[in-house]
């Protein structure tokens, strides 16, 4: 038995590690995707005052603290049975949609995009943001930096800090918006929408006009037929901040639509001894292992999943692109995991449009931004869509609002089983008896999970858009036969 280890050594804790076992024929026998980290937030948050959690759980992830800040404060609202005033909710959503536009920008240009824009088999040294700039033009690098800067400014204005926001608290938000700030934000948001349109155009020109790429997206190597999950509003449109969780089956039919407090009836987690991360699955279907299909409880929660699980986008430009994506790729649901990149930029545009709508909303500068909780705190669940999947915070407190129990199902975690399955399928499809495991092959395997934008402790948010990999092919005795470095 040979063993290939793909060990992304960008980060020694919080990163993923892939082991590929080859049988004696040189074919892939099995793959294991391990997460070597556990920080224990759920346990060390016990004993803390519940209102502090929007400020503590941000530290789960410094790349997407906004998602934890929002899921946490929504759980707090539920714990105190308080409904924040409309202005407070709108400010949270303005921050959150801006964050989506910025976060998806980073992924598209720096992480996922290089595979398409520069090419999946381009030299490793060019498959990065600089390669994108080289291919598409210098102007684009400046635009990406400016997009980041502008989104960070909006986030800091509303959230108090650009990283690890502080302003959301049970019943509302601590700081309102002045008219002057609103005007500035509106200008930024107009810019976001233009940037979103520009990004869609780049995708059109570079990816969709290239038949080889479209074939790659649709190839079976990157397809899995699973359930799909995403938050939807009352009209079943994609919503990042609020709504009910809708799950569709592999044929695209609604399987369930549940309110946040019903999550335990619908989602459960499976434990394996070889990894610290648990595998969520649909409770009513059951854990059947790492397999596709309607009989398997494996579900996926990504940009593509959200689009599959919804009936429409909430904004007009994104809706037009949503329709075009499904007509190009053969209708709903789309199982081709690489189409997640397309879905992601549709969400980028939608986030930008939503943010602009909110920046123009007359209520956004309202002064009623707090509802003081009066009821006895008990228990609450808050759910938002993190960019990398449905994020659930569940808190139980004593009568003083001190936490007795904290349960978290974090964005990427939802996709742990699908990612493991995608790696397995890509490895099986690409590593053949007697063939060389080249850098290109490695990248094609990596593309299988990069589509999910996995954020295991943010390990994969490496700027060049790929993780340094070491692959060691070993014989049965552990002796290294071949070593390939992509460092």
């Amino acid at each position: 038995m040979k063993q290939i280890k793909i060990d992304p050594i960008t980060r020694l804790e919080g990163h993923g590690k892939i082991d590929i076992f080859l049988d004696d024929n040189g074919e892939v026998a099995n793959t294991y995707f391990q997460i070597p980290e556990l920080r224990g937030f759920e346990q060390f948050c016990v004993g803390r005052p519940v209102e502090e959690l929007p400020r503590i759980t941000t530290r789960i992830c410094g790349v997407c603290p906004e998602a934890h800040h929002m899921a946490s404060v929504k759980a707090c609202d539920a714990v105190f049975h308080v409904d924040p005033p409309p202005t407070a909710k709108k400010l949270r959503q303005l921050l959150y949609n801006t964050f989506y536009a910025g976060d998806h920008t980073t992924h598209f240009y720096a992480l996922g995009g290089p595979d398409f824009v520069v090419g999946p088999d381009a030299p490793a040294a060019e498959r990065n943001i600089l390669g994108v700039v080289k291919k598409v033009g210098l102007e684009i690098g400046g635009k990406v930096i400016e997009m980041r800067k502008r989104t960070q400014e909006v986030i800091k204005t509303i959230g108090g800090k650009q990283t690890h926001q502080v302003t959301s608290l049970p019943g509302g938000i601590s700081k309102g918006l002045t008219e002057e700030e609103r005007k500035q934000i509106e200008e930024h948001c107009r810019w976001f929408v233009e940037f979103g349109k520009f990004t869609i155009q780049i995708f059109e020109d570079v990816v969709l006009k290239n038949k080889a790429y479209v074939d790659l997206i649709l190839s079976d190597t990157y397809a899995h037929k699973t359930y799909y999950m995403g938050l939807v509003d009352e009209k079943n449109r994609v919503n990042f901040y609020d709504g009910r969780v809708r799950v569709v089956d592999p044929e695209g039919k609604e399987f369930v639509k549940y309110a946040p407090h019903e999550y335990l009836d619908n989602v459960a987690e499976h434990v394996e001894p070889w990894t610290y991360l648990k595998f969520p699955f649909l409770k009513k279907v059951g854990w059947k292992g790492f397999v596709d299909g309607k009989e398997s409880g494996v579900y996926c929660a990504t940009p593509l999943s959200r689009l599959n699980a919804a009936d429409a986008m909430p904004t007009p430009l994104a809706q037009a692109e949503y329709e075009r994506m499904y007509s190009t790729l053969g209708g709903k649901p789309v199982h081709a995991r690489l189409a997640t990149h397309w879905a992601r930029i549709i969400e980028l545009l939608s986030g930008a449009e939503m943010a602009l709508d909110l920046a123009r909303d007359p209520e956004i500068t309202g002064t009623c931004i707090r509802a003081i909780p009066k009821e006895k705190p008990t228990e609450g669940v808050g759910i938002v869509e993190a960019p990398r999947g449905t994020l659930t915070h569940h808190y139980v407190t004593d009568e003083k609002g001190i936490l007795k129990k904290v349960n978290l199902i974090v964005g990427t975690t939802n996709n742990y089983a699908p990612i493991a399955m995608s790696i397995h399928k890509a490895a099986k499809g690409l590593i053949k008896k007697g063939s060389q495991v080249t850098d290109g092959v490695l990248n094609m395997i990596e593309m299988a999970f990069r589509a999910y934008d996995p954020c295991f402790g943010c390990a994969t948010h490496a700027l060049p858009g790929r993780m340094p990999l070491v692959v060691r092919i070993r014989d049965k005795n552990g002796e290294v036969l071949e070593e390939i470095k992509r460092l």
């Binding site: 960008t10 980060r11 804790e13 980290e37 335990l264 434990v271 402790g457 490496a462």
Partner: protein, 321 residues
């Protein structure tokens, strides 16, 4: 002249410190021009083995973020210590354990017990499955690292030359440090805190302070505070008096109390002890029973006063039998 060599590394952290470095925005290109960046896993290609091959003290400046919570973190800390002239604990986690250090209020056993058996969404089979360092699978054996019982700060593992506080450090302070180093001016004495002020958060807070006569504390969600008055004056526990300045008092400016991420102020041994003494002096009571009654209104003093600094405090951890 050769450019100075720069290394950046993350141990057990959330990634926020890396984001803060990137938040110097377009100036990141100046950083890339001025330094020879020899090691930055998040942003650049590198060979880990190459770091081992480097001469000792060949890295001029190493910014190390994240706390130390397993043997791998410690191993890299030792390696980078040996290779670096100036090793900087960058951000709260490296400096004082940070929020992951709150795990020292519980135990590894309690954490594992909840996550893999107690959690309401976890399916428990055969009395519970727990992650193992070594697992035999049909095809062979696979491993994961062992989690440490106690979270540590960087200087509890290796000698540290400088400290940059903050969760995360604010970009203008990061840029200030970089500019200073590039100016070629002599470096401050070893052990200095850089990229921050020499007073307290209160000194840069714009809110107006009066003589405090507190009879009651409130939690942040319980009251609407007045926008220009000191939050502590209004009965909100704010860590400002026990926290170093340098962030620009961002949280109080957004009507939220400071939680102490810039660490303890100069000439203070322990942030929590400093906060207790600051509070005792503002309570309007003389009878011990009355003082105790008022202080009892503060929920979770341990998790609040030591929000970021528990692992590095005089307490370090809570012992449970």
């Amino acid at each position: 002249m050769a450019k100075p060599k720069l290394a950046l590394y993350w141990a057990a952290s959330c990634g926020g410190c890396e984001i803060a470095v990137l938040d110097v925005q377009e100036k990141i290109l100046d950083v890339a021009n001025a330094f020879d960046i020899v090691f930055w896993p998040v942003a650049m290609d590198f060979k880990y083995a190459d770091v081992r091959k480097m001469e000792d003290k060949s890295i001029d400046l190493c910014l190390f973020n994240g706390s130390i919570r397993n043997s791998e973190n410690a191993e890299i800390a030792h390696l980078l210590r040996a290779k670096s002239k100036a090793l900087v604990a960058f951000g709260s986690c490296a400096l004082e354990g940070g929020i992951p250090g709150l795990a020292n209020l519980t135990t590894k056993q309690e954490i594992l017990e909840f996550v893999y058996r107690g959690s309401p969404s976890t399916v428990v089979t055969d009395g519970g499955v727990f992650p193992q360092q070594h697992t035999k699978v049909p095809e062979g054996e696979i491993e994961i690292p062992e989690m440490w019982e106690t979270v540590k700060s960087l200087d509890q593992v290796v000698e540290v030359d400088y400290y940059i506080p903050g969760c995360p450090p604010v970009p203008n302070q990061i840029w200030g440090v970089i500019e200073y180093i590039l100016s070629g001016k002599p470096l401050p004495p070893k052990g200095s805190v850089i990229g921050a002020g020499v007073k307290t958060c209160c000194d840069e807070c714009k809110r107006e302070r009066k003589e405090k006569k507190l009879k009651q504390f409130f939690r942040p969600y319980e009251i609407e505070t007045k926008p220009s008055e000191c939050l502590l004056d209004q009965g909100i526990v704010c860590m400002g008096p026990a926290t170093r300045d340098g962030c620009g008092a961002l949280c109080p400016a957004a009507n939220m109390p400071c939680r102490g991420c810039y660490g303890l102020p100069p000439n203070v041994m322990d942030q929590g002890a400093k906060m207790v003494s600051a509070l005792s002096s503002v309570i309007d009571a003389h009878e011990p029973a009355e003082i105790e009654r008022i202080l009892d209104q503060i929920s979770d003093p341990m998790g609040t006063f030591y929000r970021f600094s528990l692992a590095h405090s005089i307490l370090r951890r809570v012992e449970k039998s």
